[in-house]
């Protein structure tokens, strides 16, 4: 697991273009900030452990 340095810049550009320059600096970190932090079955396991 690691934090992504540059997230999903091409996908957030439409969002960034509608916001202030300050938000433009923040938006690239909004998508894809994690690189495998959540296991594929994270939600199922979380909810199973809640029931245990």
């Amino acid at each position: 697991m690691s934090l992504a340095v540059a997230g999903y810049q091409s996908r957030v550009m439409p969002y960034a273009s509608k916001t202030s320059s300050a938000d433009t600096m923040v938006a690239p970190r909004a998508f894809g900030v994690f690189d495998g932090l959540y296991e594929p079955d994270y939600l199922d396991r979380l909810r199973s452990s809640e029931r245990a």
């Binding site: 697991m1 999903y8 439409p14 509608k18 909004a30 998508f31 894809g32 909810r47």
Partner: protein, 134 residues
């Protein structure tokens, strides 16, 4: 302004670039932001999203910052939403998914979810699937 409640799986997919639905979630959220759709998240689903990041302060802060950057509005459950969520549990979906549906219903919003059980349950709840994910 229309609104869309995000289910936990969509939020996680947006945050984690290894998630199988990452591109789809990022595209859908970007499209909704462009269309001035207000993104909402129940505090129950917010907490579910944060359990894994909360294991380290660095990842916790990264998750909080990312959700803030997306402009997601956090919605506290009301007693009526809690009662509605409890009723949805009978639809063979998790209680957290029930909160997502109940929040969307209470706020007149659509729901963004990848969960097939939740999608199958939607017609009976009066909540529509977000068109960005349809």
């Amino acid at each position: 302004m229309s609104a869309c409640v995000l289910d936990t799986d969509v939020v996680i997919a947006a945050l984690d670039r290894r998630d199988a639905h990452h591109a789809q979630a990022a595209d859908a959220i970007t499209a909704m932001i462009d269309a001035d759709v207000e993104l909402q998240l129940s505090l129950v689903n917010y907490a579910e999203t944060l359990v894994r990041p909360a294991e380290a302060e660095r990842t916790m802060q990264a998750a909080i910052d990312a959700l803030s950057a997306l402009g997601i509005r956090l919605v506290a459950p009301t007693p009526a939403i809690a009662r509605d969520a409890a009723r949805h549990r009978a639809r063979n979906i998790s209680l957290a998914d029930g909160f997502a549906i109940a929040t969307a219903h209470a706020r007149g919003a659509n729901l963004a979810t990848f969960d097939l059980r939740v999608r199958r349950a939607l017609p009976a709840t009066g909540v529509e699937l977000a068109s960005a994910l349809a």
